[in-house]
């Protein structure tokens, strides 16, 4: 069995950006995971076609995680394969980490980091900043967090192998998520204030518009995600009815 080369490690890391490329309801990230592992597995089992085949099938299994934190499992699985770990242990390891990596990633990135950076960018737009500042800052700030998480995850997994669970708990990602959510809560207020009070905002169209806006805001606050689709349908219907009225007038 060969040791992992820098080239194989880099190639696996780069392929991790395509880990969701063949997302499906059967194996979810499974195929993407095996695709990303291929350069490393080819290097590890370069003189044993049968072992390579078995390892590829092992990683085709159902797997799901947040795409950024999937790197932690990728790095660790590569380490386990390179160390010649028993295939049942590799399978059990992947089953054990997929839940936490999905939940943590969703909570940290989708529910905290992305809305926080988005709202900061939206606030900048409402304050009259130019297009390139708003879009440029959004992309740079968001991706600093994104790439840091991917690189940290992959390196930690590769270094710690099966012990990556300890690394994950020591990283205190839920606490980090909570802190980011506090900033996001402040920014929701800032954004609401800007939308209410700015030129091009609601107050500009007249105070009467504030009433349905507050009703909609409270509806979203109380009902949560179930309110989104009815609100979108209501908006589209209202625009369609007003357009029809304009045509018939």
């Amino acid at each position: 069995m060969s040791a992992l080369s820098r080239r194989a490690i880099t190639s696996t890391f780069l392929r991790s950006f395509l880990v969701q490329g063949s997302w499906n309801y059967h194996t979810m990230l499974g195929t993407g995971f095996a695709f990303a592992m291929l350069p490393g597995l080819r290097r590890i089992f370069d003189d044993d076609a049968e072992a390579l085949d078995a390892s590829v099938r092992r990683h085709l299994d159902h797997f799901n995680a947040h795409p950024y934190l999937a790197n932690l499992a990728l790095g660790a699985a590569l380490r386990l394969e390179a160390d010649g770990t028993d295939d049942q242990i590799v399978r059990r390891f992947k089953v054990a980490v997929r839940g936490p990596l999905g939940g943590l990633g969703d909570s940290l990135v989708w529910a905290a980091w992305l809305p926080t950076v988005s709202m900061a960018a939206l606030a900048l737009w409402w304050l009259g900043q130019p297009v390139w500042v708003v879009v440029g800052l959004f992309l740079v700030v968001y991706n600093v967090g994104h790439l840091t998480l991917r690189v940290w995850g992959f390196r930690s997994g590769l270094r710690d192998g099966r012990d990556v669970a300890r690394t994950l708990s020591e990283a205190r990602l839920p606490q980090l998520g909570e802190r980011i959510k506090s900033i996001a809560s402040l920014l929701v207020g800032v954004l609401a204030g800007l939308v209410l009070a700015s030129r091009e905002g609601l107050s500009d169209a007249g105070p009467l518009w504030l009433v349905p806006a507050i009703v909609c805001f409270v509806g979203g606050l109380k009902i949560g995600h179930r309110a989104w689709r009815p609100a979108a349908i209501a908006t589209v219907t209202a625009i369609a009815l007003i357009a029809s009225w304009g045509v018939l007038r």
């Binding site: 395509l18 997302w23 991706n143 959510k181 929701v188 169209a205 507050i214 805001f217 989104w228 209202a238």
Partner: protein
């Protein structure tokens, strides 16, 4: 030619949402500005991107959930609005975008089902690594084609619609914008709900609200 370029941009940006990278080039804010820039009006692109970003703040590609596709929605909306200077161009473009986001969401679900038929089975006796790579990259290619098709169709429909009814839109620009913002207020409420709810976050929210209102006056 322009329609083909917009469709290709939509396909390329749609890849970023799930299949490739997730650098958030696919978010309405960025997709709107890029489409606007391509069509010679980045400010309009960013305005529509901002409005749709407000709606889609709470929509993200998490797990197996079905979600409206913000990328094609935004590219379609910007391309629809930029084709006309009629007073109804903006609200109709937003409505078409919101509707087309749902269509994009359904097409993602269909693509994921098709991917399930294409990828190699873990239970197979032997898995050819070339077949694995072909299936995986083929799925990425299909996602691109899906984005191109959805964007192209949406823009064609949106532009016809704006040309037909855009001129007779009865509301002024301020009222039209207010109507769109009223709908978006639901997403802002949902976001605060997701962040822990009003009771838990009321101090931070109220502080931010005051800062926002005061900030507008001074900045």
């Amino acid at each position: 030619m322009e329609l083909a370029l917009i469709a290709l941009l939509g396909g390329g940006l749609a890849l970023d949402a799930t299949s490739v990278g997730q650098f958030m080039l696919s978010r309405p804010l960025v997709a709107g500005a890029l489409t606007g820039w391509m069509l010679g009006d980045p400010a309009l692109g960013l305005l529509i991107g901002t409005l749709l970003e407000l709606y889609l703040l709470v929509s993200f590609p998490s797990g197996g959930a079905q979600f409206p596709e913000g990328t094609t929605a935004t590219v379609v909306a910007v391309a629809t609005a930029s084709a006309s200077s009629a007073p109804g161009a903006l609200p109709i473009a937003i409505a078409v975008g919101l509707l087309w986001g749902q269509v994009g969401g359904f097409s993602i679900t269909a693509l994921r089902k098709a991917n399930g038929l294409m990828v190699p089975e873990p239970a197979d006796e032997h898995v050819d690594t070339t077949r694995l790579a072909t299936a995986h990259l083929g799925a990425v290619g299909l996602d691109f084609l899906r984005g191109v098709l959805i964007t192209g169709t949406g823009v064609a429909i949106g532009r016809v619609l704006v040309a037909q009814v855009g001129e007779s839109w009865p509301l002024g620009q301020r009222e039209s914008l207010a109507l769109i913002l009223v709908g978006a207020a639901v997403s802002v409420g949902i976001l605060l709900h997701d962040l822990g709810g009003f009771r838990r976050r009321r101090v931070l929210f109220a502080t931010g609200l005051a800062l926002g209102i005061v900030g507008v006056r001074f900045l």
